[in-house]
Symmetry: C2
């Protein structure tokens, strides 16, 4: 099969991946739809803000991180969706021209019910060497038939 | 001024707002960009999934919630960005045709430094009467000059 089921996932397992360009156009487009605060949508207001220039919405950073997770970890697995996320933090902003990568580590696994198991992963998003996001994701996986 | 600064925000303060349509086209567009799992991007795969039909990415639900928060709470305030979010949960999926609304309540405020204060809000997103997301947001506000 090659698909990762709950039983295939081990605590301590790590993955590092991604080289994802962030463009000014994409920052503006996401923010205009979903987070129209001036430091995300308006270059000159952003220059006058605490951030000193345009920055991506934290939810955009989360979405780009998810894109990298799906492509590199969840694709071709038996992941069936997430219960949620704990301790989501944005310690530094993402700016136009940044290149994002992701490190993720399984911190806990537990059976959820007869069909599913819960996998907790600590995930860190980097722009170059700078940490821009961290979270603990709670993802359900199908269990192998026994 | 009319702008809400840190000192203007009181624990227990609540807001309820929003009537935000969710379309099939927008669910597919977001998912193709940021969360290309089959139950978000492929109608027939979604029908065979645990969800029994197409559902929005949880990150899309978060982004639509943010849109409602910015328009109804953060606009014309001295909010300067978020540190992060705790206890993000997606208890039920969002489906095409749902109409989203948001309830938010200030649960805690504390000075952060000389210029900023931290406001914690418990925010719940509803599709009709069904809870589809909850989280505790940690948002920094400018303090009034003293």
């Amino acid at each position: 099969m090659g698909r990762d089921y709950f039983e295939d996932i081990e605590v301590g397992e790590t993955h590092t991946f991604g080289e994802r360009d962030v463009t000014r156009a994409e920052i503006l487009e996401f923010a205009e739809c979903y987070d129209p605060q001036p430091f995300h949508t308006d270059e000159s207001a952003a220059s006058d803000s605490l951030f000193g220039g345009l920055i991506a919405s934290g939810w955009h950073t989360a979405a780009m991180t998810m894109e990298l997770l799906v492509t590199n970890v969840f694709a071709d697995s038996a992941a069936t969706g997430a219960l949620g996320v704990d301790e989501l933090r944005w310690p530094n902003p993402v700016r136009p021209g940044d290149v994002l990568s992701v490190r993720t580590k399984v911190v806990d696994t537990e059976p959820w019910n007869e069909e599913l198991g819960l996998v907790r992963r600590r995930t860190t998003t980097l722009a170059g060497e700078t940490e821009v996001m961290s979270m603990v994701g709670l993802v359900l996986y199908e269990r192998r038939e026994r």
